[in-house]
């Protein structure tokens, strides 16, 4: 390594093949109790449906399994190892008490169809979380059923569609700013809507004049992310809402960036009609290498009749129950009630913070982002000078002069012991570096990050090729993605 970095040092990590390569007949990590009922003749019971062989499934011992997955785990970066500055992904600390309470037996082993009388604990968790989220968002009604953010978006747009349909016309289009996350247009298409792009203005915000020109009775809703993907608060959000409402349209808010608003401003107060939240972003449930998420959708009264079934209600006798009889509902979006395990974790997070803790969290998240912005302004190009909330977007304009792009800077950052920022997004910034530190990071970690980014900028000046060849210190470097896509090898097969 040319420069010693303060954060990371190389060390030995174990090599590990695929589990199938360790398999051999007779090894086992399982044991079943002796059968307490008569043995059955499987051939007689199942006839031609009997499976005789499980093919290439592995046979390994328990220590091999522990070592296999432990070795694999050491090849991952994680929040537990350090700052994870992925913009719009809100990689905050995942409190361990959340994991503990989610595994309490009566909650972990609750069956979704067990009678309501013995489900009051689970129902109480759903009710309490719903009440908290409604208070936080300033909305009127909620469904916890969607399994992730994009699933929440879909649910939200189905509500929009059902609302318009109830007025006699489902409308045809959804307006989406060019700075939006890719799920927004994909969701609109899945919900059966045409997508119309909305250009951002020179401050990185929704161009209100353009919106006024594009808004008409064919538009069902505008999907806006606020703060948007540049980390900029849409200052004219109320005007945007008025414009939409004047022509009978609805305002959808993608709550991906809710971490900048909790306890400081409420979407329900500034004109939003429907929004989803990501419990795995704002409310600290773990990303787990890509899920599970949870994407509750909160709505204003006018959309409440259309929420998916069932909804949690308080019954006349004071107990909680599920209500299925909702004739205007869009129907179910998922079996059972959603990712209940994530509800537990999110609620534990809200309990651990309370009103003052949540406010502090938001303030710290915004403070941290602005500290990084200040620290790197000038070192990296800042395409929009508009004030940042919880994340800041730079571009690779200065480094690109030396032929080094955002992806290369990101790969070099790995050598410094940091996960890369979100790169090449939002699309309105050419060569974007999108950085969101979250409230979890202490100043010391932020300083290390700023130092690393500055050092990389210096390297670009001195020896751009060195940065282009990064990462230098990882187990593997620059995987051939073209090969992977051209000749997909999506599973292991025995050699012969």
């Amino acid at each position: 390594m040319k420069h010693m970095t303060r954060k990371a040092t190389r060390h030995i990590s174990q090599n590990e093949g695929l589990i199938f390569e360790k398999s051999s007949p007779g090894k086992a990590a399982w044991k079943l109790p002796p059968l307490d009922v008569p043995e059955v003749d499987t051939a007689k019971l199942l006839g031609k449906q009997e499976r005789k062989d499980l093919g290439d499934m592995p046979e390994v011992s328990e220590i091999e399994i522990i070592r296999h997955f432990t070795r694999l785990s050491t090849w991952n970066y994680a929040i537990d190892l350090g700052m994870y500055p992925l913009g719009s992904c809100t990689m905050k600390y995942n409190p361990r008490v959340n994991e503990f309470v989610a595994r309490v037996e009566g909650l972990a082993n609750g069956h979704p169809y067990q009678p309501e009388k013995i489900s009051q604990g689970a129902l109480q968790i759903m009710k309490t979380l719903s009440d908290c989220l409604l208070e936080i968002t300033g909305m009127d009604a909620i469904t916890l059923q969607p399994a992730a953010g994009a699933h929440g978006e879909l649910t939200g747009l189905l509500l929009v569609r059902a609302y318009h349909q109830s007025k006699g016309n489902a409308r045809k289009k959804i307006l989406i700013p060019d700075s939006a996350h890719g799920t927004n247009p994909a969701t609109a298409a899945t919900a059966g809507y045409a997508v119309e792009n909305l250009k951002s203005n020179d401050r990185g915000m929704v161009d209100v004049a353009a919106l006024a020109a594009q808004m008409n009775e064919e538009v069902a809703a505008l999907m806006v992310t606020n703060p948007n993907t540049l980390g900029v608060f849409e200052q004219e959000i109320h005007k945007i809402a008025e414009l939409m409402h004047a022509k009978g349209g609805l305002l959808y808010m993608d709550g991906a960036n809710m971490n900048a608003l909790v306890a400081k401003a409420r979407p329900g107060d500034f004109g939003v009609d429907v929004m989803h939240m990501n419990l795995h972003k704002t409310f600290s449930t773990p990303h787990g290498g890509g899920g599970p998420g949870s994407g509750p959708v909160a709505v204003k009264k006018i959309l409440a009749p259309f929420l998916p079934t069932p909804v949690v209600i308080t019954k006349p006798d004071g107990t909680l129950g599920f209500e299925y009889n909702r004739p205007q509902s869009v129907g179910r979006v998922r079996a059972f009630y959603g990712n209940f395990g994530m509800f537990i974790r999110a609620l534990a997070y809200i309990f651990a913070n309370g009103p003052d803790g949540l406010r502090q969290t938001t303030e710290d998240a915004v403070l941290n982002a602005n500290y990084i912005r200040k620290g790197l302004d000038g070192v990296y190009d800042l395409p929009y000078s508009t004030p940042s909330m919880h994340e800041v977007v730079f571009s690779d304009k200065l480094q690109a002069k030396k032929g080094v792009k955002t992806v290369d800077l990101a790969k070099r950052l790995i050598d410094y012991g940091f996960h890369p920022y979100t790169m090449a997004f939002p699309l309105i910034v050419h060569g974007a570096l999108m950085i969101e530190p979250t409230e979890s990071e202490p100043k010391e970690e932020l300083d290390l990050f700023i130092e690393a980014m500055k050092s990389i900028a210096d390297e670009v000046e001195e020896d751009p090729q060195f940065v282009l060849d990064a990462p230098h210190n990882t187990r593997i470097s620059r995987l051939d993605e073209t090969l992977a896509a051209r000749k997909p090898v999506l599973r292991w097969k025995p050699e012969n």
Binding site: H111, A188, Q235, R475, P488, L490, R491
Partner: protein, 450 residues
């Protein structure tokens, strides 16, 4: 930090938010709680949530033993607190684990390949139907009525807005799909036939015969599998085109319905129409084997409104639980595990048939069976509840014609004594003295058992 930024107070950072929309009061939520209080609160809720009950519920969510190594491993921070593995150099652990998951799911389902997971079995089935629409260019689907009713509801929600008409095909008195009705239902406009096997009643379908009917008309066959453990002993649906699986049975806690782990498996030729993340093997610049997310051109972050699906986050950590479960039981253990499920269920069904009618006896079943009683199953269940037993799932909610029938499930965790006790209590053979547990009033019964 304020000084470094050049501001006097944090409030200045919130000045972009118009004053009238700034919240100046405390949120009306409960005060900050200490960790001990949080733990107490949730333990209290757990007590109100069926803790200590014996359950015979299945119906799409199954109570199997979870080897302890699963939680020991998935709680490693490097798995728990990492992001989607877009940065391959920094996420080889997650990527290789997913590659192994894809391999084992392909192997078990008899398909060529599998994706990295979907939200759950219900949304997976709906995505499979939309995939079939893309593959065939046709715009309707034929659905088995013995597919999980909530899966059908989800599919209905998706299909309505995609303008995909759904035709439902009934079942015969073996509990299996009515092949004659299916034959007439599958027209030249059908993109697919979607069935479940073992189906909602626990009965195993004749997948080959159904595949023949579907393929004859140029439709794809999608097989939904809600009880993954069945794959240890039941022939996988090799003649299907897409398998839409719920893998919850493989080491995922019941958790009151989620998070679970959907997954799609299919034939190689359909891979480019498959939704969801895929991990592929490749080499790095030094020629070393490594893994990356691949075929991303199908996905929303590249294709936006032209993507195969809007799915983004999936169920990675739950898929890891499934992965570890499959690795623990492996080639031999999975079969033995499935055999125990089969034996317990055969015993229970045999015992029940002495007192009540076990429906759909004409076809092979896995670990669920339908009991028809002379008494309302809600009444039976509320009686059982007094013995801390949760009885079978009353079917009339979804199948009004199966009035007094309930769906019972036994797994390897169901003991013979539990079965015997439940039958005794259910048929009212328990001595009055033993029935000292408080009984519910008649009026409460329906609410209690839903």
């Amino acid at each position: 930090m304020l000084k470094a930024i050049g501001i006097r107070s944090v409030d200045e950072l919130f000045s972009p938010i118009p004053t009238e929309y700034r919240l100046t009061r405390d949120l009306a939520i409960s005060r900050q709680m200490a960790e001990s209080e949080i733990v107490d609160w949730f333990k209290q809720r757990a007590k109100e949530n069926g803790e200590g009950y014996t359950s015979f519920l299945g119906a799409g969510a199954y109570f199997h033993y979870r080897p302890v190594v699963i939680d020991a491993l998935v709680q490693r921070g490097e798995f728990l607190t990492s992001y989607t593995p877009y940065q391959a150099e920094f996420a080889q652990g997650t990527l290789q684990a997913i590659f192994e998951f894809q391999t084992m799911i392909s192997e078990l389902t008899g398909m060529d390949l599998a994706n990295a997971s979907m939200y759950d079995g219900s949304t997976g089935a709906a995505e499979a139907v939309m995939m079939a629409v893309r593959v065939t260019g046709r715009h309707s689907a034929v659905i088995a009525r013995n597919l999980h009713p909530e899966y059908r509801e989800v599919l209905n929600t998706y299909a309505t807005h995609q303008a995909i008409p759904l035709k439902t095909v009934s079942f015969t008195d073996s509990g299996q799909i009515d092949l004659k009705e299916l034959e007439t239902a599958v027209g030249d406009d059908a993109a697919c036939v979607l069935i479940q096997s073992p189906n909602f009643f626990g009965t195993i379908e004749d997948v080959e015969a159904i595949a023949e009917i579907a393929h004859k008309r140029g439709a794809l066959l999608i097989v939904s599998i809600a009880e993954a453990v069945s794959l240890g002993i039941v022939e996988p649906p090799r003649t299907a085109d897409i398998v839409a699986m719920e893998a919850q049975s493989f080491g995922v806690p019941l958790g009151f319905g989620g998070p679970y782990c959907g997954v799609l498996a299919t034939k190689e030729k359909f891979v480019r129409q498959m939704p969801g993340r895929l991990v592929g093997q490749t080499v790095d610049k030094h020629g070393k084997r490594g893994f990356v997310l691949t075929l991303a051109t199908r996905e929303q972050h590249i294709r936006r409104e032209k993507a195969t699906s809007n799915i983004c986050t999936n169920q990675a950590l739950v898929a890891l639980m499934v992965n570890i479960f499959m690795t623990v039981y492996g080639k031999i253990g999975l079969r033995e595990l499935a055999k125990q499920n089969l034996a317990k269920t055969a015993y229970a069904a045999g015992q029940f048939s002495k007192h009540a009618k076990v429906l759909f006896a004409g076809a092979p079943r896995f670990n669920e069976f339908v009991v028809e009683s002379s008494e309302d199953p809600y009444a039976i269940n509320s009686r059982l509840l007094g013995h801390k037993i949760v009885g079978g799932f009353p079917l009339k909610k979804f199948y009004p014609e199966l009035k007094n029938a309930a769906l019972w499930c036994c797994t390897e965790l169901t003991t013979r004594s539990m079965i015997d006790k439940a039958i005794d209590a259910a048929v009212g053979l328990v001595a009055e003295s033993e029935r000292s547990a408080p009984r519910m009033k008649e009026t409460e019964e329906h609410e209690v058992a839903r």
